[in-house]
Amino acid sequence: MYCEECKQKPAAVHLTQVYNGKIIQSHLCEECAAKKGGFIFDPGNKFSIPNLLSSIFGASCSIDPDLTTEIKSCSGCGMTFNDIRQTGKLGCSNCYQVFAQEMEPTLRRIHGNSQHIGKIPTRSGEKVLLRKQLDALKTQLQEAVNHEEYEKAAEIRDGIKALESRLV
């Protein structure tokens, strides 16, 4: 059967519309159907982004889902890991802690083997900032030692001690 519109390409889209009790059928090729634009044939949610995302969760979960991951639910919002897998989204910030283990492969899939190295909020981030400064100093210490700059290394070591006392 050929497209009703262009009469050149084979009809691939068959639309049945019901207007006020009247049934209207049209047969169009893909291009003409796209041009008509008016009707949106919903593939029934099968190819939606959340589903795509939840497939990332699903694939990563090698454990039988009927086991323990079903029962655990987040105290903040009540979501279970199964809910997360179905919607592709988490329910609250607590979920990241509660489902840390289950989320790990997913996060790795999306962002690679990385952790956050960007901005840190000033309020909740004080400890984090200190720890990062500490790491930086430790690296500097190692470098100073490698270059045999022992005086500098001693200064850095004192700086490290001071920071460590602030963290405790």
Partner: protein, 355 residues
């Protein structure tokens, strides 16, 4: 109320294209996704937590703000008509999803010129957006940061050391930063290069979408390019990376345009001439065709073949031919045919006097 201004007037900050700059990069956008700790994410808000969330944000907006933010106002979406919400979406100030949502907890924090627009309770509690004309990623990030720092000083964000800023969707976790540029690439489209470029862009960690973001088509030769990964890189790295790739693409587009001017001079002028002809005389025009022809016109302006219209006006026009804008302008419900007729009218009105 500044939102009234924005809803009624034609121009928003990103439309103000800068003099003497090529218009390949139309606008730059910085978006930061943030959530408040101890409340469920918007998808899981119930009446109590939803109201709580709105109250908190509203309260923050009533406090004294730093000078750069002092025109920011809070407006609940439920207060706006569907038409007005559509207008905000068409001006790129909120996402189409946010405009269409029936959640009672949606809101927007908007400043006077629309350069800072923060969505409340869209996919995350807060989505801070800074939208500026041309290629201004660094400046955009600065502004977004100011908003971010201010909000963070009053609200406690959900953040953990390993995963960074916690977001509803795991694809946004980490920096929560989506940096994007809106590009106009007619020469690339004409010479069939876009497929290849898009592939390469993908390999560089960027993604390309259409004019209105996620799920939209690349109409009128407009492409929105943004970073894909949000964790594992610093915000500065993400912006610099996008800037570098954008500059490469701009250069490519330039080279192609130069080639076209020489190799296909007549075809180019013909295409632009025809666009002008149709735009000037059509009585009915749908938005796809209008966008395509306006894109040709834009190219004509860039190449100096067409004169008599400013790019600002063109930017405004592209938005004012969208459905919600048309309906607001003519203050009545319009069916598709009427819209197409009015669209033609508006276009002719704006472009008379061009040659």
């Amino acid at each position: 109320m500044s939102i009234e201004n924005i809803l009624n007037c034609g121009s928003v900050k990103w439309m103000e294209s800068q003099e003497g700059q090529d218009d390949i990069v139309i606008s730059s956008r910085i978006r930061l996704a943030r959530n408040v700790v101890d409340l469920p994410f918007p998808m899981r808000l119930d009446q109590k937590s939803g109201d709580e969330c709105m109250q908190r944000v509203k309260a923050v907006c009533q406090e004294e703000m730093p000078a750069a933010l002092n025109t920011v106002e809070y407006t609940s979406l439920a207060q706006l008509s569907i038409l007005d919400r559509g207008i905000l979406a068409e001006k790129h100030l909120i996402s189409p999803g946010h405009a269409e949502s029936d959640s009672p907890f949606g809101a927007i924090l908007l400043n006077r010129d629309g350069s800072l627009a923060t969505m409340v309770n869209e996919e995350d509690h807060l989505r801070i957006q800074c939208l500026l004309p041309g290629l201004q990623l660094a400046a955009g990030y600065e502004m977004a940061q100011q908003m971010d720092d201010f909000l963070e000083s009053k609200l406690e964000y959900a953040f953990d050391e390993r995963n960074g800023y916690l977001t509803s969707c795991p694809t946004n976790v980490g920096t929560g930063l989506r940096a994007s540029v809106m590009l106009h690439l007619p020469a690339m489209q004409m010479t069939g290069q876009t497929g290849q470029i898009l592939q390469t862009i993908g390999q560089l960690g960027m993604t390309v979408r259409g004019l209105y973001g996620e799920g939209t088509q690349a109409t009128g030769n407009y492409f929105q390019m943004s970073n894909q990964i949000t964790m594992g890189q610093s915000e500065e790295e993400i912006c610099n990376h996008l800037q570098a790739v954008t500059e490469q693409i701009v250069e490519q587009e330039h080279l192609l345009r130069e080639r076209l001017k020489i190799d296909l001079k007549y075809q180019l002028e013909d295409k632009i001439g025809r666009a002008l002809g149709i735009l000037n005389h059509a009585r009915i025009i749908n938005s796809t065709e209008a966008l395509a022809l306006l894109s040709d016109l834009r190219l004509g302006i860039d190449l100096g073949i067409v004169s008599g219209i400013q790019l600002n006006a063109l930017n405004q026009l592209i938005v004012s031919i969208r459905p919600a804008h048309l309906q607001k302008c003519f203050a009545q419900e319009l069916d598709p045919l009427q819209r197409d007729i009015k669209r033609a009218e508006i276009i002719q009105d704006k472009i008379k006097g061009i040659k």
